[in-house]
């Protein structure tokens, strides 16, 4: 015990409970806030279950059929995989707007290599993955080493990659039949099998496995913890001895590789390979799934399982409204509401205190 100074003498009579915790009188709302703070995937899971129940009641048994539910999974496979890549980037407090066009250019390159140039399909897939990784690495280099804002960097590479895609491919579509005849391996993820009325494609299984693998990496390896730390407080991470630049470079590169993997899955789903898919807002759909899944845009918070649930929520809502015969714009409107609600909930959870 150090000797107290003059002005501190009175402390002896003061309240001594300086560091104890007040455990009584915690309201239900506070408890809920605490639970959600420590379990970030809970919010999207609850919303997902609610959405399924609401549409189930509104539509009836047809909606609950395992056929419908697995059809939703097939529809979200591509966005789910892209969302997983986006999650890594957003966890570092970044954003990747180029992810959708990286996927498209990778698909075009895989198709051209395998069919137009006649390169063996596995090598063609490898080249496509490599191109995706290089695009991601360019993003990562500009963000980590040139210290440019991720939004600007990926806004730029979005245009660059999209234009390159159209120039390189001359906007020529590779037909489904050609892929089937010359490079059936590109359709690998379209292989489906039935369990009763449920229909699962390898693409759906790949999405779930990818999310589980990333979940393991993010939560149970040092590198994963570093991704969170870099997004949470880059300065603190650096002072703790984390090579923040290397982590960022790796995250953007992996994001590009996963986008290229999504390209392979998308060839399976679409059949043909079309460069004009680059105009589809895949990047925004991936960001939507990530944000609805509770990944904080400020970085460092959220669980990748939430992204999977987020993608499922969008899939359930769009399928449900579709079956109800609603105008498709209602889906767009509802997605917008969900995004804003998700960010509002995130802000509230961040204010947690003991």
């Amino acid at each position: 015990m150090t000797e107290a100074q003059e002005f501190e003498r009175v402390l002896d009579e003061s309240d001594k409970n300086v560091a104890s915790f007040e455990h009584s009188e915690i309201s239900f709302l506070k408890r809920a806030q605490h639970f959600l703070h420590s379990t970030p995937a809970a919010v999207p899971l609850i919303v997902l279950v609610l959405a399924i129940i609401i549409f189930g009641v509104a539509i009836g048994g047809r909606f609950f059929s395992s056929y419908t539910l697995t059809l939703i999974l097939q529809q979200i496979a591509i966005v789910g995989i892209l969302g997983a890549a986006q999650t890594l980037v957003i966890l570092t407090a970044g954003i990747d707007l180029s992810i959708g066009v990286i996927m498209v250019i990778s698909a075009v390159i895989m198709g051209n290599c395998a069919i137009t140039y006649g390169i063996p399909t596995p090598i063609a897939i490898g080249i496509g993955m490599g191109v995706g990784g290089l695009c991601g690495m360019l993003n990562g280099f500009l963000v980590a080493f040139m210290k440019l804002p991720p939004f600007i960097v990926t806004l730029g590479t979005w245009s660059i990659v999209m234009a390159t895609n159209f120039i390189y491919s001359a906007n020529e579509t590779i037909r489904d039949a050609d892929v089937d005849a010359q490079a059936p391996l590109l359709h690998f993820f379209a292989i489906s099998f039935r369990l009763g009325t449920a229909v699962l494609t390898l693409g759906v299984i790949a999405m779930v496995l990818l999310v589980l693998v990333l979940w393991y990496i993010l939560n149970h390896t040092a590198w994963g913890r570093h991704v969170y730390a870099v997004g949470d407080d880059p300065e603190a991470a650096k002072l703790s001895g984390i090579q923040t630049k290397r982590v960022l470079l790796a995250v953007y590169t992996i994001s590009g590789v996963i986008a290229a993997f999504a390209a392979w899955v998308s060839i399976g789903r679409n059949g043909s390979i079309s460069p004009s898919a680059a105009v589809t807002d895949y990047n925004l759909q991936a960001i939507t799934a990530t944000v609805i899944g509770g990944i904080s845009l400020f970085g460092g918070r959220g669980s990748i399982l939430g992204t999977l649930f987020g993608a499922m929520i969008v899939g359930v809502v769009s399928m449900g409204l579709n079956m109800l015969g609603a105008d498709p714009q209602w889906k767009v409107l509802l997605t917008g509401v969900l995004i804003i609600a998700a960010v509002a909930v995130d802000q509230w959870i961040r204010k947690v205190s003991v």
Binding site: A229, L239, G300
Partner: protein
């Protein structure tokens, strides 16, 4: 002097453009002591501390640890050499748990295949060591080692940062303004923590603006002025106003370096 300094620096120079932050500064820390470093704003205290903790590389001069010359290119290298720093902003990741924070950047992996192939973290081992260290320092008012650091009070966070330094610092612990953001009672706890760490045999470099705290715990006081060491005084022989007079240049010390 019979005892060799554990950490010393000679002729450190650091320039930022036309500003000279360190102007041939010297520094000595002896085993088992608390050395306070004081100086006016802009005197070059932080540059000195950054140089010996590896955050900046000095342009000139040499640093010796245990008599051997060392050169740190990053805080990581200084940490590996046994110099731990508690930064003013604490360098904790708010959303990560106490245990994760204590082991950030030097995680323990599971033994065997799980660790080497699957790179799996050994959470139980890290949690146990974190808990042991915190209770050793009397900080076990923290109930849940897995709670996020952002849910802790200022004093508790400081405690976690100090515990991290004490757990890994094998040679020297540097503390930058550890009481600056704290209330009276929390400051007292942190001062006790500092003495506790010294009692474990670790020498401490304490940077502070708080004169009462400095005079209370320091064994020697290094006064920094205009980019160099002005003098080192014994807090028992001088008053706080003397120290302030030296530090601001109102009075010149009797001898240049008293240690």
């Amino acid at each position: 002097m019979a005892i060799e300094p554990i950490l010393s620096a000679r002729g450190l120079v650091k320039r930022y453009g036309r500003v000279t932050a360190l102007d041939y500064a010297d520094f000595d820390l002896y085993p088992g002591e608390i050395l306070a470093v004081i100086g006016d704003n802009g005197a070059g205290k932080s540059s000195l501390i950054k140089a010996i903790s590896g955050a900046v590389t000095p342009d000139e001069g040499e640093i010796r640890l245990d008599g051997k010359q060392v050169q740190f290119r990053s805080p990581m290298e200084a940490r590996e050499a046994g110099i731990e720093t508690v930064y003013q902003n604490l360098a904790l990741s708010p959303a990560l748990s106490i245990a994760d924070n204590m082991f950030l950047g030097r995680e323990i992996r599971k033994p065997g295949v799980l660790g080497s192939w699957f790179r799996m973290l050994d959470r139980p081992a890290m949690e146990k060591r974190a808990r042991d260290k915190l209770s050793e320092l009397g900080l076990m008012t923290i109930q849940n080692i897995n709670q996020a650091v952002e849910t802790l009070s200022g004093g508790q966070r400081q405690g976690v940062a100090v515990a991290r330094a004490a757990a890994f610092g094998s040679k020297v612990v540097i503390m930058d303004e550890p009481t600056a953001a704290l209330g009276v009672k929390e400051s007292r706890k942190v001062l006790e923590l500092i003495l506790d760490v010294r009692a474990r045999g670790l020498p401490i470099v304490l940077i502070s603006h708080n004169m009462p705290h400095v005079f209370e715990v320091a064994d020697r006081i290094h006064i920094h002025r205009l980019g160099k060491r002005l003098t080192v005084i014994d807090p028992k022989e001088y008053t706080m106003s003397d120290a302030v007079a030296f530090m601001t240049g109102a009075k010149a010390p009797a001898q240049p370096v008293a240690a």
